[in-house]
Point group: C2
Chain length 454, copies 2
């Protein structure tokens, strides 16, 4: 077996792991922090690993390990072999004890080339692949961050987690809390999540509370409960989430033999995807796993586009602190409108400063897409055999715009993050597919043969 020939890792790859304020650089303890806002400047934290310098041979050994772990191992094996997130443990949470890892087999997801209908619809003769992060235990990309967040919570002795959610976060939080043996509550905007999404957290034993408001109201409540009532947050406010979402970048880099595509295209709701992809790319470049990084295409629906809208004010400025500051000044929360992409129906994204940082650092682009375009994208995907969520539709329509507008050039490679399975959004498809159902009058083969003109 190839796996047996790889030398074992010796020693840790990092001196320590702490939380570091993205505003003022203040550091706090990973396992003791409970407020998740810097005391000095109220900014969010990043997880920061103080990595030892890695020489080329250390990097090569790590790459070999990551490849070996792609072959799953059953019974008494390390969790690194059963999770596409923990496969990269040394880059994500190097010193967490294996017994604290709370895994449901997340990150074992298909990476597929776009089908013909989608390629034609997007146009521009570009190379598109999708990473189907909805093919996982709770049906959305939230699993990637959830496994890390809940593992840290377990290591920290947390007994009670909570979150605001447009649907996917609550399913993740409830499932991983169940697996960890931690009590969980979720706040959902009343009437604004799909029945399947409302069902999931309850099935996993979480307390489900609906709030007569928007996701932004739920998020505001959670931030208050974290600040004043000791609630441990499962939202991306909790930077351990972002560490896990970096696996998107690591999986793609591994699939490209440690290169990165020209673009990552992502839908932007609360901002965890942009934040984590940017952070993961910078890490791979810093440690010399890759020579060059990707540009991030952040995409929002018309109904909830506070970041794409404000980006327009600074898009022609040079990257750097003054562009970020200009963006922060131009940013205004928006009152969200109606959209089938309910999971991205967020007018005041909690991770907006991280999104701005990563779009800027990657020389990225933000796009607003029309409601009809994001819905059409989903149906185009279905014609190729893929059932994706409307948020994936935002990213796909965003790629189409970016091609039309010349941001994405002929021959470039684009990886689209498909954030959830279409199975969670059955109602989107039902409206169009139900009307086409034909009813046979009886059970005789000749009746069916006639209907099919055989």
């Amino acid at each position: 077996m190839l796996g047996d020939q790889v030398p074992r890792m010796s020693g840790s790859v990092a001196r320590k792991t702490v939380l570091r304020c993205i505003g003022c650089g203040n550091t706090v303890d990973l396992l003791r922090e409970r407020k998740f806002r810097c005391e000095n400047c109220k900014s969010l934290f990043d997880v920061w690993h103080d990595f030892y310098p890695m020489d080329a041979s250390r990097v090569a050994t790590l790459k070999s390990h990551f490849n070996t772990r792609t072959t799953p191992r059953l019974w008494n094996a390390e969790p690194q072999t059963r999770s596409g997130v923990w496969r990269f443990k040394e880059l994500i949470m190097p010193d967490l004890a294996d017994e604290d890892i709370v895994s449901l087999g997340e990150g074992i997801v298909p990476i597929v080339p776009a089908g013909e209908h989608l390629r034609d619809w997007i146009g521009g003769d570009i190379d598109i692949s999708l990473i189907l992060e909805g093919s996982g235990p709770t049906g959305s990309f939230k699993d990637f961050g959830g496994t890390v967040m809940m593992s840290v919570a377990k290591a920290a002795g947390v007994g009670f987690v909570g979150c605001a959610s447009t649907g996917d976060t609550s399913a993740m939080a409830a499932a991983y809390a169940a697996a960890a043996g931690i009590t969980c509550f979720v706040l959902l905007p009343e009437g604004k999540v799909t029945p399947v999404q409302l069902m999931q957290p309850g099935a996993h034993g979480a307390r489900v509370i609906t709030v007569p408001g928007t996701f932004d109201d739920c998020m505001r409540i959670v931030q208050e409960l974290v600040a004043h009532h000791g609630v441990y947050p499962a939202n991306s406010l909790n930077p351990a989430r972002i560490e896990g979402h970096q696996a998107t970048v690591f999986l793609i880099a591994q699939a490209m033999r440690w290169k990165l595509p020209d673009w990552f295209a992502v839908p932007v709701g609360n901002g965890s995807n942009c934040s984590s992809i940017g952070k993961g790319m910078r890490l791979l470049e810093q440690l010399k796993f890759v020579d060059a990084t990707s540009r991030i295409l952040g995409c929002q629906a018309e109904a909830a586009n506070p970041l794409a809208r404000s980006w327009v004010a600074v898009k022609d400025r040079c990257p750097g602190p003054s562009r970020i500051q200009g963006w922060q000044e131009a940013f205004q929360p928006v009152k969200v409108g109606e959209t089938t992409a309910t999971a991205a129906r967020i007018g005041d994204p909690v991770s907006r400063h991280k999104v701005m940082r990563e779009i800027d650092a990657s020389n990225g682009v933000m796009q607003t897409v029309a409601e009809d375009q994001l819905n059409e994208a989903v149906f185009v995907c279905a014609k190729d055999g893929l059932l994706v969520c409307p948020q994936t539709g935002i990213a796909l329509a965003g790629v189409r715009h970016a091609v039309e507008r010349g941001y994405i050039q002929r021959g470039e490679k684009v990886v689209v993050v498909s954030t959830a399975t279409g199975l969670k959004f059955g109602d989107v498809f039902e409206s169009r597919s139900m009307e086409r159902i034909e009813r046979a009058a009886d059970t005789s083969p000749s009746t069916i043969a006639r209907m099919l003109k055989l």
Copy 2:
């Protein structure tokens, strides 16, 4: 990269691939056959690869290839690296041209140990893992067989496929037909599939016809349309399906470093899982990939248990032709009752002779499980963070019975095939979880803090 050190395969591993009648041994052409019943004796066909003898070094080379392909490859790479089914192409369909492969990234699925609640509920101090085959493009295990069936259809120049379905097969057939550019129709029993399952084939552009009868009526119609109207079947009547489902065995063998567990536990509907697991195990043993095979635990719900019911008549006989013949004589189709496990609501399984062959050959066991037990199993899984379908519940409850009855012994290793995601069966969970949803009166943090007693 380790992958680059593996020698390339040279030449094919098989002399030819044909269809062979399981009754009389008559062989027909894989790509030309359209009736899928033996002309002589009306039995079903198996796919039969006439493998060259393989020495130990050839087997070791193949194992190395299979391990190398677990690392996905993007852009211009062979499909073997992006599919957990085609990873094992040499064992499944060795001479199919790569350009005929119709893949949606199937078989990239988590294999996870059972959680604490499930282990406690099953009892008996046994080792249980689940292969989550619902974590795939269409949300069920049908993808495993679908990719092979549709690839063979493409290679054979088929323009029109059809199937009867309890839900999962139709989603698979429609998705893979879309990916292949082949026209598709599906027959579904009116009122007996979930809304999500009814939505899927329509979303992928198939003609969806509901029939005022049971799945068995739909299956009977399809068999007539195949026999007399040239329809190419997507049901497991089509033995190419079974070839793909063998990947369940290959994935588990690979994860166990080319050993097999003591038991595979599967729900039995039309019989494709039992058929393929048995066939796959015999192949691994014949080619000396493994030294010993597993016993198959075939599980059925009370509402549709024709195989488990008739097995009781022969269970104390010795394995062999006389036991199989006795079972065939004892077999009676049953009129199906109501069950939440709608995908296994089949009273006259088309692959029953294959099921009998494989249960017999593996010294297997059949179990009937009560409706309340299969539903309870699903909720127990949810407490561990896994959302599985009611058919998985049949297999889990079957394991519990088999432990109680002494078939499965302390310390034995059991792999349960989880056949679909619970997301397709939201209504099963909704009934219990919706009543527990709490509504907040307003959007103030203090209201929520009071509800949570913070």
